[in-house]
Amino acid sequence: MRRTRAATTAAITLSLLAATATACGGGSANGDGGSNSAPKELTYWASNQGPDIAADEATLAPELKKFEERTGIKVKLEVIPWPDLLGRILAATASGQGPDVLNIGNTWSASLQATGALLPWDGRNFDAIGGKDRFVASAIGSSGATGQDPAAVPLYSMSYALYYNKKMFREAGIEKPPATWDEMVTVGQRLSKDGKWALGAEGSNLANNIHQVFVLAKQHGADFFDAAGKPAFDGPATVDAVKQYVDLMAKDRIIAPGNAEYAQNQSLQDFAAGKTAMVLWQSAATSFKTHGMKEGDWGVAPVPVPAGGAPGTGRNTNSMVAGINMAVFRNTDNIDGSLAFVKFMTGDEEQRLLNKAYGSIPPVKAAQTDAAFASEDLTVLRETLSTSAAPLPQVPQESQFETTVGTAVKELFADAAAGRPVTTESVKAELTKAQQQMTS
């Protein structure tokens, strides 16, 4: 008798606990579209855009103050380092305890959109911030799956460019930066000697590997996902694209073998130290300056395209659309305030100011005309963005793709660095393995 009672108590306790846990896991229950129960306060998770967290806080604080003076809404800012950001967003999604407004890497848009945690930007929401047409089309293209309302709005845009060391080029008697990959290899072999190398790479940085092979795949007329959004990693064209990238180290020998283990932007340090003559990077100017280079030491050119081409669309794509999007958590308790804050941050004035501070390009058309974005560096980035950049696949499996294919490229670089042959077969085998790991 006593035992039954104990068992009953235990059972009740358990079911109560389970119920609480379920309630926690289910997010706050106030339906879609948020509420306005806390109209005087907002929590904002910003991504780390400047050299460090403190610098970002110093940049954003006066702007948030300005917003508070205009609207009376106090914004609680938290700047989150990149390695933590996605994990924090996932935890917030699972628990329902998240910020009101947040920054996301634009390549995550479709993946996060699939969780349903972000407010969809339908016509009405876009109207609240001045309309969809204010933004550059390619930036809107990287804010969610095609055919659905965007999950976020563009905040800062970036694109890839070829940065080259003017002094090293002068000394090697090279007049202009390579415009095609053939020229890259020819020029590269003239530059790679006496312990110096032509091109830098971040062989162990999965995201960077993806950005590079994505563009090369476009140049081979291929995509890593087919029209139905299914992975298609190991087709002949994608194999060629990945092989072309790894061959820069394996066959052409214009990337130092040591770059295979780089993952913490060591290639930028090598560039600043005059050990490598070129890097393919997005908005690198600020980093070069912190590593001790002076404006004018480096030149900027568009990323090379296939022989006979010029930067454009399709096979002449030469960059991904890189950048940061701004999203609103669907279960925010200050929906009107959130929209007002997004409107403020994507307004012409703030766009000029913040993109100037971070060395990025405003995704808002009207803000791009500012003289600050007409420098040599930014002109190349801006033109790439408007004419020859393509968004990474906007599919829910994008982050899985970054991990699996990024790892495949890392392994191939490791082979190349160790002197093992990189063949069409070995590239295909790695990509097939990556595709088979796409479990869901």
Binding site: L17, T22, Q437, S440
Partner: protein
């Protein structure tokens, strides 16, 4: 109910009531997350459902089938990672124990500078893991790292081509080095503490009987610290087997195959690829394995000691 029974019920309920807060907390902190993990492992929990995971469809044993199907790449990779982890754990625990015990025996007798030396031995254990391991990561860099500088430039070993420590098969040895460096001070600390309890007379008597120092270690020291060793090896085993920080800081989220420890592997199969159901299934399998090993270990060592006690 008569007043008499009520009193009896109250009396008998009192201890349970007093225990209740502890039981509830235990449930909340340990059991509920574990039960949830097991439940999750039977669901097809991907990013589409994490916002409200009770809506995730039931997957039945599909996640487990995926994890143990050795004809598919996911199962093969998990098995490979499991074998690597077993080998790694065996070597790491063995070396940690050996170094720790040797150092503890060495510093057992008092000599000048023993205190500072003991303190120095404990430094790796006291350092924050991230700071220590990231320093190792820099030291293992191929082009600018200290390890290659000493090996290739100073000692002239290994030829002109510098070695990659963070890529390929060498990464296993790099990981083992860091793990032993980080783990042995704990073994040292525990064995040192155990040695304090051995009465000095035992050694004196043994010395009088003509036992050399090796015999004293073998006949007195090691048997005396036996029960401590039993726990020490088990704890080291569990820590090393589950170590996530060391490979994660050393290699980032995609470790080379030779150093792909199971906890990092599971992290990659769930968090990085957003497939939480499969990750949960792998975790449950890992939990079962560790439970089995622990139970087997305690049974075997316990029986061995009982027999010794009987003899």
């Amino acid at each position: 109910m008569s007043p008499h029974t009520t009193v009896r019920v109250r009396k008998s309920a009192l201890p349970y009531l007093l225990l209740l807060p502890a039981v509830l907390l235990e449930l909340l902190i340990h059991l509920v997350p574990m039960v949830m993990g097991v439940v999750m492992s039977f669901r097809q929990l991907t990013q589409f459902f994490i916002r409200d995971w009770t809506r995730a469809p039931w997957a039945g044993p599909a996640n487990y089938e995926l994890a143990v199907d050795l004809n598919k790449p996911v199962g093969q990779a998990l098995l490979g990672s499991f074998v690597t982890t077993c080998l790694f754990t065996l070597l790491s625990v063995g070396l940690c124990w050996l170094l720790g015990t040797a150092a503890a025996v060495f510093t057992q007798e008092s000599f000048r500078g023993r205190g500072p030396l003991r303190a120095l031995f404990l430094v790796p254990y006291a350092l924050p893991v991230y700071a220590a391991v990231i320093t190792w990561a820099f030291m293992f860099q191929r082009d600018n790292g200290l390890v290659n500088h000493v090996l290739h430039d100073q000692l002239g070993l290994g030829g002109a081509d510098r070695t990659f420590w963070l890529l390929g098969d060498n990464s296993f040895w790099a990981l083992l080095t860091v793990s032993v460096w980080k783990g042995w001070p704990f073994a040292f600390l525990i064995v040192t503490a155990a040695l304090q309890n051995i009465p000095g007379e035992l050694y004196e008597a043994a010395a009088l009987d003509g036992a050399g120092s090796w015999q004293r270690i073998r006949r007195i020291t090691l048997p005396s610290v036996g029960p401590v060793n039993q726990v020490l090896v088990l704890v080291l085993f569990l820590w090393t087997f589950n170590d996530f920080n060391t490979p994660f800081v050393l290699f980032g989220k995609a470790a080379p195959e030779a150093a792909d420890l199971i906890s990092l592997h599971i992290y990659q199969s769930s968090f990085v690829t957003w497939n939480f159901g499969a990750g949960a299934a792998m975790s449950v399998l890992l939990l079962l394995f560790l439970l089995l090993v622990t139970a087997g270990y305690l049974f075997l060592t316990g029986r061995g000691r009982r027999r010794n006690a009987d003899a």
